[in-house]
Symmetry: C2
DNA sequence: TATTGTTATACTCTATAACTATA
DNA sequence: TATAGTTATAGAGTATAACAATA
C-alpha cells in the first residue's frame, strides 16, 4: 500500500545517476554547461559573451602583443578556421588588429586596441569573480586543489610546460 | 644578445594565461572541449556519440523505467524542446520507447528496449574507463576530491539532494 | 613538402517563442 | 492558470575539406 503511494511526489529525490555518479567527465560536461551560461549572463552585452574563445583571446592579445592566431588556437583548442572567424569578429568590433609578422610573411601578429584594452580591464575582475562565486559551497582549500589538478590537466592537453617552469624558455 | 636570440623558437614555452591561470571556469570549459572530443572518439559509431545528453538519457532510462523526459531534462540541463529531439532521435534508433503516463495524460514515461539495454551495458564500462584514463597524471586521491567537489556542485545546480541522502524519499 | 591563414559547406547545438492538451 | 510535451526558427558553434601564399 505504501509502495503504491510513493508515486513520484518529488521526482528528483531518489534519482541515482548510475555509473555517472563516479564519472568525472559527466560532472565536467554538466558543470561546463551551467558555468558557461552563468558566465554569459554575467558578461551580457559586453561583446565577449557567448562562445568559449573570445575572453581568452582578448586577454592573451592584451598580455602578449604580437601573439599569433595559431598559438591562441592551440590554447583554446580550436582549429585555424574557427580562429579566423573569431579574429574577424573581434577585429570588426575594434578590439584588436592584425599585422603581418616581420619575420614570417605567412604569419600574423595580433595587437590590442584601446577599446580592447579597456574591455580586458573591465572583464578581468568579472571573470575571476564569476568563477569563484559559481562554487559557493566549496572551501578555499578545495578550490586550490581544483585549480592545481585541472590546471595540470589543461597544460598537458594543450602542450604547455608544467606550472612553475614557464619562466625558462624551454627546448622544443 | 641572448635577449634578441629568444624570438619565438617554441611559441608555447612562455605563454602566461593572465588571470585565467587561476580561474576555474576557464579550466572547466577548456577541459570540457577536450574530454568531449575524446569521449566522442572512444564511442565512435555507437549511436550515442556526439552531444551531451544521449549517454545520460540512456543510462537513466535503463536504470529508472518510466522516468519522465522533463526529469531527465533537468538533470542534463536542457529545456524540454531539446529533450524532445533527443528522445525522438533515440526512439528512432530503437533505444527506448515512450508511453503515456498512467497517472497524468500530459506526461510520458520512457522505457528501455532490448537494443537500448544492450547498448547501455556496452557503454557503461567504456564511459567510466574513458573518464579515468583522460586524467592519467592525477592520483586516486585527487580523483576522489574532484568527484566529491564537482559532484556536490552538480547536485546543487540541478537540485538533487546532497550525496548520501538520496536513499530517503525526501519532502518537496 | 609543410605551415599559416583563409574560404566554403554541412552539420549540430542553443535559445526563444508559440502552440496543444491536459491538469 | 500552470504544466508536459511539441513544433518552428534564427543564431552560433563544430568539423571537414580545399585553397593561396610563403617557408
Amino acid at each position: 500500500m505504501a509502495d503504491e503511494m510513493k508515486m513520484q511526489r518529488n521526482p528528483m529525490a531518489d534519482i541515482g545517476l548510475d555509473v555517472l555518479e563516479d564519472t568525472l567527465s559527466f560532472y565536467i560536461r554538466s558543470i561546463n554547461m551551467a558555468i558557461s551560461r552563468d558566465l554569459d549572463a554575467s558578461l551580457d552585452g559586453l561583446e565577449v559573451a557567448r562562445g568559449t574563445g573570445k575572453i581568452t583571446t582578448l586577454l592573451l592579445v592584451d598580455r602578449h602583443p604580437g601573439i599569433r592566431p595559431s598559438v591562441i588556437a592551440t590554447l583554446i583548442q580550436r582549429d585555424r578556421s574557427a580562429m579566423v572567424r573569431l579574429v574577424d569578429q573581434m577585429e570588426e568590433s575594434g578590439l584588436l588588429t592584425r599585422e603581418v609578422a616581420p619575420d614570417d610573411n605567412r604569419a600574423q601578429g595580433l595587437f590590442i586596441t584601446g577599446r580592447g584594452r579597456a574591455l580586458a580591464a573591465e572583464i578581468r575582475p568579472r571573470v575571476v569573480r564569476q568563477s569563484r562565486e559559481f562554487f559557493p559551497d566549496i572551501t578555499d582549500e578545495e578550490h586550490a586543489v581544483l585549480i592545481r589538478v585541472l590546471g595540470r590537466t589543461y597544460r598537458r592537453i594543450v602542450g604547455l610546460p608544467p606550472a612553475g617552469k614557464n619562466k625558462t624558455s624551454g627546448e622544443p
